[in-house]
Each structure stands twice: as structure tokens, then as C-alpha cells.
């Protein structure tokens, strides 16, 4: 891969605020042109700190980061030129109108006067704020403020777009719109955005980096990450019938190939009613096998046992996330 295609390079980055453990602890990853990277992690994991270092607002304690080939510390003005940034909570000057504000940003961002008109028009349309240009930023609703924040981040057509929780606090329609804009931009540019909403990552990202407790917990495409843990999927099995108590099906299941562990999740004893008694089992499956057919055969052919239901839980990104961020360090990819 040609080096100029790597738009963001983070190399053994650490940042300590002087607390007992660093906010960011030895993180390395790369983002290439045209990638939309979801930056995932629980609150306080170090997402915002990493982004503040990437945008040269803070300096790393150790390690380095590059944006479009420029070191964010030693060549920070050049690095910042390539970046569009939307910080958390969208801090904008409240006493300016939207138009004044965007004009100011275009000034400082060095948007040429001859392109300004066209650029402004495009951005305003893209972010859907053309009917709010004369309003004071401070009077805008949260959703519109977020759009103005996005507009200021893309007005100079940056190579790299860094967005810190761009959809937090928005309603579902607004979230969908912002996602649309991010996707559209991500086709030609590099986008990195942080979130703790997992659906967002599945909907928009081509790659995911998960951090927990300041450490890199995973790095890959959303599918990759799901596949990695899907082997340890679970089957929920409900067995009924006269002999559908817990011990007998348990003994049968032990002999099925590909099953790692079986636990009784719940027993429903309907002895006072006329409904059959039923037991629910949670079956942990070995990596990469699907023993559902075998299980069905074993139970259905056994005397006095009825197969009431069976379902396999595919690991969702949510599981991956929870797994990686609660037992941090063990799942390093």
C-alpha cells in the first residue's frame, strides 16, 4: 500500500493526564484514503483524547501521529490544514449568524474568495441549513447546530474529517441525515468518527477500531470483528414433553459433536396446568460449527421429548463490543 494512501497514522500513541493510568495507552492504527473509521469505546475510554491529539489540540505524552503525512506535533499547522474537525458538544460562536460563522471559518481555513460562493452553497445544501443562514447560532436547535458544526468541518474540503460523537443527542431522523452526509463524504475522503452507538458503526463504517481503558482492543471491518467471535455463538434450546426435564436431555446433548457446554437456563414446571413441562438450555458451541441439525435429530427422536424451539444467537457487534471492552486487554487483535 502506497504511503500517501495512509491518511492517518497513529504510532504507539500515549497520553497521560497525570492520573494513575494513562488516558490513551500505546495505541497504533492507520486509516487509509476513502475509509470511514468508526472509533468505538465506552465513555472515558480515550476516544476524545485521541481525537484531540490528532487535531493538534493536545500533545501526546509519547508516540506520534501523522495526518496526511504531516506530524501533528512538529508540523501541526500543515496537519491541521488537512483536517476538518467537529468536537464533542459542537462548540460554536453563539453570537454570530450561521452565515457569518461559516464565512469566518472559510476565512481562517483559507477558502479562496473566488471559490467561496460556490463552496458555501454546496456545503449549505449538503448539510441542509439553507433556510437557517440568517439565524444566530445560539438560537438553533441541537440538530441544526450539529449540522452547522458539520458544515464548518467540511467547508474547506478537508482530506480528513474527524468527528467526535457527531450524532449524540439527535433524534433518529437527524441521525440518519448526518450519517448520510458522513457516508457521502467518506466516498472520497477519510473519515474517522467516534461513537458508542453500535448500530451507527454497522450502518456507516468500513472499519472499526475499538478502544477500552485507553488500549486498543480491536481493529478490523465490522464483519471481521463479528466473525471473530461468532464461533462462540450460543444456541437456546427449549425441550418439552414428559421426559423434558433437565437431566435426560442434558445427557443426550453431551454426545452431540461441536457442543462445548450446556447449561440449564430455566425450567418451567406446569404440573398444575395441562401445558407440557419445558426446559430451556443454553448451549455454547465450539468455534465455527453449527450443530443445530444434530441437536434437532437427537431430541426429536428421543422418546417423550419434544423440541419446542431452537435458535442460534449470532454474535452482534454489540457482543463483540461488550466482550472486548469488559475484559480489556485479553482480546487485543
Amino acid at each position: 500500500m502506497a504511503t500517501q494512501d495512509v491518511m492517518i497514522r497513529v504510532d504507539r500513541l500515549s497520553k497521560s493526564y497525570g492520573g494513575p493510568r494513562p488516558a490513551v495507552d500505546d495505541i497504533s492504527f492507520e486509516v487509509r484514503r476513502g475509509e470511514v473509521l468508526g472509533f468505538l469505546g465506552p465513555n472515558g475510554a480515550g476516544k476524545t483524547t485521541t481525537m484531540k491529539i490528532l487535531t493538534s489540540f493536545l500533545a501526546p505524552t509519547s508516540g506520534r501521529a501523522e495526518v496526511a503525512g504531516h506530524d501533528v506535533y512538529s508540523d501541526s499547522v500543515e496537519a491541521r490544514r488537512k483536517i476538518g474537525y467537529l468536537p464533542e458538544d459542537t462548540p460554536l460562536y453563539k453570537d454570530m449568524t450561521v452565515l457569518e460563522y461559516l464565512d469566518f471559518v472559510a476565512d481562517v481555513r483559507g477558502v479562496r474568495k473566488e471559490h467561496r460562493q460556490a463552496r458555501m452553497k454546496r456545503v449549505v445544501e449538503q448539510c441542509g441549513i439553507s433556510d437557517r443562514l440568517g439565524m444566530l447560532v445560539g438560537e438553533l436547535s441541537k440538530g441544526y447546530r450539529q449540522r452547522v458544526g458539520l458544515a464548518q468541518a467540511i467547508i474547506h474540503e478537508p482530506e480528513v474529517l474527524i468527528l467526535d460523537e457527531p450524532t449524540s443527542g439527535l433524534d433518529p431522523n437527524q441521525i440518519a441525515e448526518i450519517r448520510g452526509v458522513i457516508k457521502q463524504i467518506g466516498q472520497e475522503k477519510t473519515v474517522i468518527f467516534s461513537t458508542h452507538i453500535l448500530g451507527e458503526v454497522q450502518a456507516t463504517c468500513s472499519r472499526v477500531v475499538i478502544i477500552a481503558d485507553g488500549k486498543l482492543a480491536a481493529d478490523g471491518t465490522p464483519d471481521d470483528l463479528m466473525r471473530k467471535t461468532s464461533g462462540q455463538g450460543e444456541i437456546l434450546l427449549e425441550v418439552g414433553g414428559k421426559r423434558g426435564n433437565d437431566t435426560e436431555p442434558l445427557a443426550l446433548l453431551r454426545h452431540v459433536d461441536g457442543i462445548e457446554d450446556v447449561k440449564v437456563l430455566a425450567t418451567a414446571d406446569w404440573s398444575l396446568s395441562d401445558r407440557p413441562r419445558a426446559t430451556t438450555f443454553r448451549i455454547t458451541v465450539k468455534q465455527g460449527v453449527d450443530p443445530r441439525g444434530d441437536i434437532a435429530r437427537v431430541i426429536a427422536t428421543a422418546d417423550g421429548m419434544d423440541l419446542l424451539s431452537m435458535s442460534m444467537d449470532k454474535a452482534s457487534l454489540e457482543d463483540v463490543f461488550r466482550k472486548l471492552t469488559t475484559t480489556s486487554g485479553t482480546g487485543a487483535a
Binding site: 497525570g18 462548540p91 460554536l92 453570537d95 454570530m96 481562517v108
Partner: protein, 236 residues
């Protein structure tokens, strides 16, 4: 340079988006005009001495109100983060903000030029002396503004910024009155740094190079500290 202009322009116009600037300018004009003209008719002399002698006192109180928000508000609102992640240097931010406050002070001082004109109608006014006094006054205001900007870089609380600037300004102002308390050995030292003593030369219409150097080095020093404070986010 383009960045400095953009930042200064934004900052200057935002003065007029809030009532504070209007109130402060009005207060200054009323206070200085009232005090000056009442004294003028009592004294019966067509000069601006009384007007200028007052100004170190008035400005150390007034300038902090104009400078307190410059950096503190950016910090409180979080807009500092957006500003400093744009391709601007910390210096450009400091200079841009400083120029904006100077601009407003220039407007304020400009609005008192009619005072001098009206005095000139009443009697023979030494135009040269008055002009150098105005220049000296502007330099002195510039010094207070630099102190205010520095104070504003220390905190995100505007009130704290104003008070810090007020204390420093007051200290530089009152120092001259401490000579009798401290004894004559302190006089050379105090004469060197007391802004009031410096300015009394200008009020008489004498703009000494040493005084100009004093103002400029105070301004430079304060802006340097303000810049260092901004940059310190990257050392911590």
C-alpha cells in the same frame, strides 16, 4: 496575517453583538466627560491636562471589562478547541484578539476627540501636546489591554479574568503612591514600572521614547505570557 485579520474582525464585531461594549463605551464617555468638563470650568484654563490625568485611573477599571472575555469565554464555551484546531498559530490567535480590543479602545478614545475640539473653541489649545497625550493614552490603554488579555488566558471564568487584570492594573497604578511608605530607595524602581508616573509625562504632552519603550515592552511581555499560556495545553 490573513488569519490575524479574520480573528480580529470576528472578535471586534462580536463586541457589538453584546451590550457590554456599548455600556462600557458609554460609561467611559460619561465619566471622563463629566469629570473633565466640570473641572475645566472651575479651572478656567483651556487645556486637556485634567482629562488626561484622570485616564490611568479610568482605564485600569474599564479595560478589564473589555478584555475579560477574549480568551476566557472561548475556553468556557469550548470554542477554543475549534479555533486552535484550525490552521492558525497560537500567536495569530493572541495577536488577533489583542488587535480587536485595541480597535475598540481606539474607537473609545476617538470618541473623546470632540472634547479636545470643544476645548480648542474655548481657548488656545496646544495641539501638539494634546496629540502626543492622545498617543500616550492609546499606548497606556494598549498596555492595560495586554494585561487584560493575559489575565483572560489564565482562566475560563470571565469575572476572575477581569479581577486579575484589575489587580495588576491597580498595582501598576498605585505603585507611585507607595514611595513615601517604602522610602526613597524604592523610588527609581517604582518610577520605572509605575504606569501612572509614566503617563503623567504624556498627560503633559511629552511623549518620551523611554515611556514608549515601557509601554511596548509591557505589551510584548503580556502577550508573550498569554501565548505561552495557550500553548501550555500542549505541555501538560
Amino acid at each position: 496575517m490573513q488569519n490575524v485579520v479574520a480573528i480580529a474582525k470576528r472578535e471586534f464585531s462580536s463586541y457589538f453583538n453584546s451590550p457590554i461594549a456599548y455600556l462600557v463605551v458609554a460609561a467611559y464617555l460619561i465619566l471622563s466627560g463629566g469629570l473633565f468638563f466640570s473641572g475645566l470650568f472651575l479651572g478656567g484654563q483651556a487645556d486637556m491636562r485634567a482629562f488626561f490625568e484622570l485616564s490611568p485611573l479610568l482605564f485600569f477599571i474599564i479595560t478589564p471589562m473589555l478584555t475579560m472575555r477574549l480568551l476566557a469565554e472561548e475556553r468556557a464555551q469550548g470554542t477554543m478547541e475549534l479555533l486552535l484546531t484550525m490552521p492558525v498559530t497560537d500567536w495569530e490567535v493572541v495577536i488577533g484578539k489583542y488587535l480587536a480590543s485595541l480597535g475598540l479602545l481606539a474607537v473609545m478614545i476617538g470618541l473623546t476627540i470632540p472634547f479636545a475640539i470643544s476645548v480648542a473653541f474655548l481657548g488656545p489649545l496646544d495641539k501638539g501636546a494634546t496629540m502626543s497625550a492622545f498617543v500616550g493614552q492609546f499606548l497606556m490603554c494598549g498596555t492595560y489591554a495586554a494585561i487584560g488579555l493575559m489575565a483572560s488566558s489564565f482562566t475560563k471564568n470571565q469575572i476572575v479574568a477581569a479581577l486579575v487584570a484589575l489587580f495588576i492594573g491597580f498595582g501598576l497604578f498605585i505603585l507611585g503612591r507607595l514611595v513615601p511608605v517604602l522610602g526613597p530607595w524604592a523610588a527609581p524602581f517604582i518610577n520605572a514600572i509605575c504606569i501612572d508616573i509614566r503617563f503623567q509625562n504624556a498627560a503633559r504632552g511629552v511623549l518620551d521614547t523611554r515611556d514608549v519603550l515601557y509601554y511596548l515592552s509591557m505589551i510584548g511581555g503580556c502577550l508573550l505570557v498569554a501565548q505561552a499560556t495557550l500553548e501550555s495545553r500542549r505541555w501538560r
